[in-house]
């Protein structure tokens, strides 16, 4: 039966080229727009190499310290305090913390990366991390291995394959020396480059060294930058570190956030000997990716996207409804005959849905291809299309196979197509079926 429906639809498609053309174009436009939004969201939030645990990731970047005027001053966490926080492992494990990793990167200063082998100098932001970083992200090592806890005080580095290619023209560089400004490091591992489209994600960077070498950010910042940090009452609060945390399960995020906030506040109050109100702000990964507040809820954050999705589906759906309604009017006689021979409304609706399914499937396929073309050709700006503020280091690096061809994206196309098909075919068909057999047959006259 289904085969017959499809055959009929195929014949109709050849007969009514205009109808088919408009139907497919409308569906393709709708799917292309809706899927582009979906792919943008997927690249921002989906589990992509090496950040496959984004749904369980928490990022601690801000501490608000109440000031005397009733407001608050915002600081970054301090490495020393994060290390103290890590020692509270029992409390943290209890609420579901799997890993805590401090991360330092001086976003204001690009370092000059060079090697003994060539005169090439590349400007990069080194990421200073501890050995837990390699548990946090699933980096694939092309050569060598990550640095270990024992090596944290040694000058060792892990670099990406793309940096190795640029500096050494090969990825076989384990054991070679690399310079960050004037300091040298031995390369112990080479990883596949981070494949996220944006460079401001937690795994961004092309060179990773032990956080031990970033200690001057906390302790020696003043001498490093001259008078940038005048000593004042808030000096004890300030730091230059981010902290990444992975939860055992996504559901534990809230309790982990609460626990970390409590512990950090206590540590800070002890170290700074203050009674000022301290509010550590811990973000979930999606909150930082979508640049929203730490207490935003997901639904509110994606409301803008949902409105657009609605527009991209609703307008073409109305268009398709009009087309199907017109076609149903011209097929009233056929409906009347089928009803007269005992076909139920359900059978007729099923037939119409299946027939339209063919058109929708073709439209969805064209739409998906269009989506890929749109995203691929415009990847330098399209991923940040909905971002209010784009930082200078948010540079698109191109899309990858896994960003576009993955089960989630394909399943979403199918779901959207099905939704569009049902939404556009059901109402006109039901309206057409309201007429009784006599009326329908009379229409044939």
């Amino acid at each position: 039966m289904i085969k017959q429906f499809f055959r009929q639809a195929w014949t109709m498609m050849k007969q009514q080229k205009l109808f088919t053309g408009i139907y497919i174009a409308g569906t393709a436009a709708s799917i292309a727009m809706a899927m582009t939004i979906f792919v943008i969201l997927y690249i921002k939030l989906g589990p992509l190499y090496p950040e496959e645990n984004r749904d369980r990731m928490l990022i601690f970047t801000e501490v608000v310290v109440a000031d005397d005027e009733g407001g608050g001053r915002i600081f970054n966490p301090r490495l020393k305090y994060i290390e103290q926080l890590k020692q509270e492992s029992k409390l943290l494990k209890k609420v579901g913390v799997r890993e805590i990793v401090p991360f330092v990167s001086d976003f204001s200063h690009l370092c000059e990366i060079s090697s003994d082998n060539s005169n090439t100098t590349i400007n990069e932001l080194p990421a200073y991390v501890d050995c837990g970083y390699w548990q946090l992200f699933n980096f694939r090592f092309v050569q060598g291995r990550p640095f270990t806890k024992e090596e944290e005080h040694s000058p060792v580095a892990v670099i990406t394959a793309s940096l190795a290619e640029k500096l050494f023209a090969t990825t076989d560089v384990v054991g070679q020396r690399i310079y960050i400004d004037t300091d040298y490091y031995s390369i112990v591992g080479v990883v596949e480059g981070q494949r996220t489209c944006l460079t401001n994600t937690p795994s961004a960077g092309n060179i990773f060294v032990s956080i031990h070498h970033a200690r001057y950010y906390d302790e020696e910042r003043k001498s490093f930058y001259g008078d940038v940090n005048e000593i004042n009452e808030y000096n004890a609060f300030n730091g230059y570190t981010y902290m990444y945390t992975i939860a055992e399960t996504a559901k534990q995020s809230d309790s982990i956030k609460k626990e970390i906030a409590e512990i950090y506040s206590r540590i800070l109050q002890q170290n700074a000997t203050t009674n000022k109100k301290i509010e550590p702000r811990i973000y979930e990964y999606w909150q930082t990716a979508m640049d929203v507040r730490h207490d935003s809820n997901f639904f509110t954050a994606i409301l803008e996207y949902l409105y657009l999705l609605l527009a991209f589906l609703l307008i073409p759906a109305l268009n398709l409804c009009g087309l199907i309604s017109t076609r149903m009017s011209s097929r009233l006689a056929e409906v009347g005959v089928r009803k007269a021979y005992g076909a139920t409304n359900r059978q007729i609706i099923t037939q119409v849905l299946y027939e339209n399914m063919l058109f929708t499937a073709i439209g969805a396929f064209v739409g998906l291809v269009l989506t890929y073309i749109i995203v691929y050709k415009n990847c330098d700006w399209i991923v940040t299309l909905f971002d209010g503020k784009i930082s200078n280091d948010t540079i698109a690096q191109g899309v990858t196979f896994e960003m576009l061809f993955n089960p989630t994206v394909i399943a979403s196309v199918l779901l959207l197509a099905l939704l569009l098909n049902i939404a556009s075919a059901l109402v006109p068909t039901l309206l057409a079926l309201k007429r009784d057999i006599i009326q329908s047959l009379y229409h044939r006259r």
Binding site: I315, P316, I390
Partner: protein, 442 residues
């Protein structure tokens, strides 16, 4: 004829229902997409009050202690002072340069400024009222040769000519016309003074200029230029944060100048650990701000939505009218054989499409008005718009009623044109047939 067509639309109301709903939805979305676009374009095209043509901005950076190029022996106040002087001299001596200015990073059409609460003493005002107000300002650093006002062509409210800088090189402030009115209740504020809140610092008003756009995509309004005399820098960070703005002489080829700057001058703008980072035209800098603040994204988003709405209108109308024309082939044949011209028939269908789109648009307007009532017009980049212009300086087209009328007119025009094109395509192709062929097909 219109009455006849309205009757026809009413008689075919069931057939028209879907396309009507689509036009209704398209009208709403089109309005919502045009609103922010109009907002941006309109605010970008306001009279900025200063001249941004032929202005280049030179930014600096320096090698820090960890850089391989860092030279410790040059990191001292004397060298920094001499280095900076040399560079200023080099810029000043360029034959293409008409004037130059130094700012601490805030300048007209930029993205940063200072802000402080100031007090106007009651004796400064005719009504003897003390005024306390938060004022936003740029700080310019003046040497004997530099001239901020001339470089950006600020206009004197009294003469309309370019405002002259204080001959004696005094420190003080230049204020905009609307700020003068707000603070002193008069435009004639030269010689009066304002005081910083929580400080003894007092500043004389050295001049009053026509309002300028202090911030990109903002209306010109209350703003101030604070003049600080050039002080020999003791720390490299102080000079590295400054921006040097140069204005080119008339007739200088900008392309050639940019190339010469990049190839010849930029390498020479290096002294000690300080070196020129970038030389950017005002236009390119604006482009960077537009990218960074998501303004370009706003343009893109709304162009995409409008284009999508236009495409849907076209597809919907083409589909509907094709079916309609096919159904009325006989009628068309009879009309043609009775002497109706092709133009008359096409006109009839086009009028039908126009009426349909117009009715849908008219019904969409109360929904749009409700949205405006509930959440207002599209605010261009709320985060960026912290400087609220005073009402007098809002361009007429940005006031609520004209804004609504203009956005509605643009949206209506687009929806109707798309509908007309959508209707004309199938009708024109059908009426090309001879009447006898049309009648025979029935």
């Amino acid at each position: 004829m219109i009455k006849k067509i309205i009757n026809q639309i009413w008689n075919e109301r069931k057939e028209n229902a879907w396309i009507f709903l689509e036009l209704l939805a398209v009208s709403i979305f089109m309005w919502l997409a045009i609103d922010p676009l109009f907002n941006l374009i309109s605010r970008d095209s306001v009279d900025k009050g200063y001249d941004s043509e032929k202005i280049y901005n030179i930014t600096y950076t320096y090698d820090n202690k960890r850089s391989p190029k860092y030279k410790a022996e040059l990191d001292n106040a004397t060298t920094i002072r001499e280095s900076y002087k040399q560079m200023l001299h080099l810029i000043e001596s360029l034959p293409e340069v008409e004037s130059y200015a130094i700012s601490d990073g805030g300048f007209p059409g930029g993205n940063t400024y200072g802000g402080w609460e100031f007090i106007v003493d009651s004796t400064m005002r005719a009504d003897n009222k003390e005024v306390k107000k938060e004022i936003y300002f740029f700080t310019c650093i003046e040497t004997t040769e530099s001239d901020f006002l001339q470089t950006f062509s600020f206009k004197d409210v009294r003469t309309g000519e370019i405002l002259k800088k204080d001959k004696n090189g005094n420190e003080g402030v230049y204020i905009s016309k609307s700020l003068a009115k707000e603070l002193f209740d008069t435009e004639s504020a030269v010689g009066k003074s304002i005081k910083m809140h929580d400080s003894d610092n007092s500043f004389n008003v050295l001049g009053v200029y026509e309002d300028v756009q202090g911030f990109i995509y903002n209306e010109p309004g209350e703003f101030m230029v604070m003049v600080r005399q050039y002080d020999d820098p003791s720390n490299i960070r102080h000079v590295a944060e400054n921006i040097i703005h140069i204005k080119l002489k008339d007739g200088v080829d900008e392309y050639k100048f940019e190339k010469r700057m990049e190839d010849e001058i930029k390498p020479r703008l290096r002294a000690g650990n300080l070196y020129c980072d970038r030389i950017l035209s005002h236009g390119k800098l604006k482009n960077e701000f537009e990218n960074a603040y998501g303004i370009k994204n706003k343009y893109r988003q709304n162009f995409i939505i409008s284009s999508f709405a236009i495409l849907c209108t076209l597809l919907g109308i083409i589909g509907t009218f094709w079916v309609r024309v096919v159904a009325r082939r006989q009628e068309i044949g009879i009309m043609q054989s009775m002497g109706a011209t092709r133009a008359t028939i096409v006109k009839q269908f086009i009028l039908e499409a126009t009426l349909l789109a117009s009715i849908a648009f008219a019904i969409a307007m109360p929904i749009v008005l409700h949205k405006i009532y509930a959440i207002g017009f599209a605010e261009p980049l709320v985060d960026l718009m912290r400087v609220k212009p005073i009402s007098e300086t809002i361009a007429w087209r940005n006031k609520p009623v004209p804004h609504f009328i203009i956005v509605s007119a643009i949206s209506y025009f687009i929806v109707v044109v798309a509908s007309i094109v959508g209707a004309a395509i199938p009708v024109a192709s059908t009426v090309r047939k001879e009447p006898v062929e049309a009648l025979r097909e029935e």
